[in-house]
Symmetry: C2
Subunit: 517 residues, 2 copies
Amino acid sequence: MNGAQSLIRTLVGSGVEVCFANPGTSEMHFVAALDAVPEMRGVLALFEGVVTGAADGYARMADRPAATLLHLGPGMANGMANLHNARRAHTPIVNVIGDHAVYHKGFDAPLESDIDALNGWTHGWNRTSTDTASVGQDAADAVAAAMTAPGRIANLVLPADVSWGDGGEVAEPVAPPVPVPVEAERVRAIADIARSGESTVVLLGAGATREQGLLAASRIAAATGVKVFVETFPARLERGAGLPAFDRLGYLAEQVQWQLTDVKHLVLVGAKAPVSFFAYPGKPSELTPDGCEIHVLADLGEDTAKALADLAEAVAPDTAPVLQDPVRPEMPTGELTPQNWAPVIGALLPENAIISDEANTSGLMIPMTTVGAPRHDLLTLTGGAIGQGLPVAVGAAVACPDRPVVCLQSDGSAMYTISALWTMARENLNVTTVILNNRAYAILRMELMRVGAEGAGPAANSLLDLAKPDMDFVKVAEGMGVPATRATTAEELAEQFAKALAEPGPHLIDAIVPSLI
Amino acid sequence: MNGAQSLIRTLVGSGVEVCFANPGTSEMHFVAALDAVPEMRGVLALFEGVVTGAADGYARMADRPAATLLHLGPGMANGMANLHNARRAHTPIVNVIGDHAVYHKGFDAPLESDIDALNGWTHGWNRTSTDTASVGQDAADAVAAAMTAPGRIANLVLPADVSWGDGGEVAEPVAPPVPVPVEAERVRAIADIARSGESTVVLLGAGATREQGLLAASRIAAATGVKVFVETFPARLERGAGLPAFDRLGYLAEQVQWQLTDVKHLVLVGAKAPVSFFAYPGKPSELTPDGCEIHVLADLGEDTAKALADLAEAVAPDTAPVLQDPVRPEMPTGELTPQNWAPVIGALLPENAIISDEANTSGLMIPMTTVGAPRHDLLTLTGGAIGQGLPVAVGAAVACPDRPVVCLQSDGSAMYTISALWTMARENLNVTTVILNNRAYAILRMELMRVGAEGAGPAANSLLDLAKPDMDFVKVAEGMGVPATRATTAEELAEQFAKALAEPGPHLIDAIVPSLI
């Protein structure tokens, strides 16, 4: 057995059964080994940003990592923006980064570069396999590292000769460490605060935005009067009818400051105290109000869901959670506007959907219009590196082939990783993509005003303008094998969205929505 | 004057008049400042890999750097694969990487990352502006660093508050250091070798593949019998009728070994001794024959063109260069094949063209079929990170608006940076793109065999296959505003290529060419 085969067999044995791949010559033995291990599904993407974003979306939904296959330093570099998002989402991912043969590295061949520097940037677990006999163990260790709470990126560099060498050995799965339990004393202290009657906000983040955590948080709120928010960009938020509904903190600093007005205690559960997404002249970075005490119920790496359950048991043993009623928005009519497209989605969202949301400014109304839709999962842009929505939808659809995936995607962001459409077609994934085509980096129009930039005129505005030429996403999608239609009215959007959801495989709707600003 | 204005004014004063940009919030003051300095042309791209690749193509043709504008670490990361190619091309580039305000960095906002680690990966010049008053000087120093022979990447990190702060000062241009002259003794020693009658190869690289270097090399060869090769992937090779014609070293190790058979002396001029692009089991990394002595006439950073001129003066004072006659291939007919599309290009290549060549396996015949075409520049894939061809074509066309740019682009590679087409349309660039659409990563089919990977079957082959679905580049191009046609015969390709060249603005031809293997 060569190194590549032992690697793939070990991954499969450790529960990693999908590899999103964009291979090159140095990865050919890995590619060849896929035929020896049919349990591993190879999914080809045409750009590494799709590979890593898909791995992110996959693990958010599957609760176990996918592998990626990347071609040396430049392949890793192309995948790094979405690894940044995955890092912020605390998503477990096992990157297999092919490299030159060990003996070849000193020759500075054209594709040689400092892969370690790139891996370090991901703040994950890093190892280079140096010996064919230990590749299997390296792979098992990588999976365990990725699965270490709250989840992280594991980078395994695989030199070509280690991959093609004989003597590979399959390793047993390695159990990741158990999440650190939260001591009872801390739960008691937070319980005292919750019962104090002072204005208290509980902020839910990693590990606390799934059903179990939400139900506990709702009981705590109902029993004590604390207010609950979800962090601004949760990796995966379960929501909809039958689940507790909590607002997310806003994207804009002003929104967060308003949401936290007069709060005396901020209780963090797998989340960080809110800071401004960007700096603005004369405005604060920290958004917690003056005089507000910050308390940590459970930090990243601790058992957040268990801590919330313990807190609920302490303060709300007999209190039931408050659940969202099923409610759908009225179906809108007329020309599409920034306001009326979101109710269409809310009115028609199917049972058990997964939403990959990179609608940015166009998506401001989505939380409101979908709150009482059938239960669904929401996957958001966790790290601010745009170009995540389409790849995450790919990965979610691979992880959950029986669930409808809805990708709400702004036009500018779509173009970073547009070839994800091809992978949707290739794998016949059940993804309905709605492009919010406002022909602008609308968020930057807003930010240009908010930062108080002086003297902006035609030259500045042209760099925020995606018209001239207008993108035709129908043609782009069809060119990549995805059936597509254009909607300019709410009625058209509704008809096309319902039809797309009713048919298997990917679809795209190019929704012409004017820019909010 | 704020920091951003002083930065842009200094860049313009230092000869940097184009900024390829994909900005975000932290760069809004830079964007606004473009209206205050109309001499700086901002060119928007929809993905940072297009930004950096365009800056590479621009500087290869303009002989001075463009600036880029990149959005924090993730924006830099997206641009890095083409910066890798630019590093290998020794292209001067000034990257302006926006960052959070200095006081905001400690808060670990979502887009925070270790930008220094990314910059280090480019092996260039790095500085973070920490003070608005010195941003101008930082910019002048960055341009000088980029222009230091043989050319390199300068990374200037611009925190938002340094950019928006008042008190910016425009700095005078800084002269880059003069290239190190080659001492007469070294020229004399190489002259002795050239005249020795022993089998000698002169290998031309950075600084030696332009007219002056080529003419000198040709005179040396004519007078002494040495053989001249150009490095495998030159950044910019001037060629065609009226110039000396030298073969490039091959991509495959076997080709190079054949080209260097029995050579006793290898003389390097701005080039490195050839090594295998990848490692292969049982095959050597170094491709210089056993017993061949390696000599350096001029190293990177030295004045290669002057050294060649001195050597020519020493060994060939009265010898004329051998110039390529004008000759065109016969116009082929019939269904497109891997062999017959390249003569169409050679037969019709216009005067003074610039070829951006990322045709990969499909392009094997291009050097032969264009050797006697009218004089042109050839820009190649220097670092092996695919996705360079379209962006380099963008940059070359911006640098040389009066010259026709021909982009020969393989299908798989095109998809990494496909949004370059939109920038071509936006800027109405005279680029004629020919997609060699063979529906495969054909080079990897070849490499899968060459690396001796065992057991490759359907699973492996599917990861090298770009069919299912077939890409329709006509639709993709039209969707991004570029007029496009499809060619399936040599006659159609000829007609469409001639028509595209005759009309201003960008065009794309989706040439359906079977895979070589």
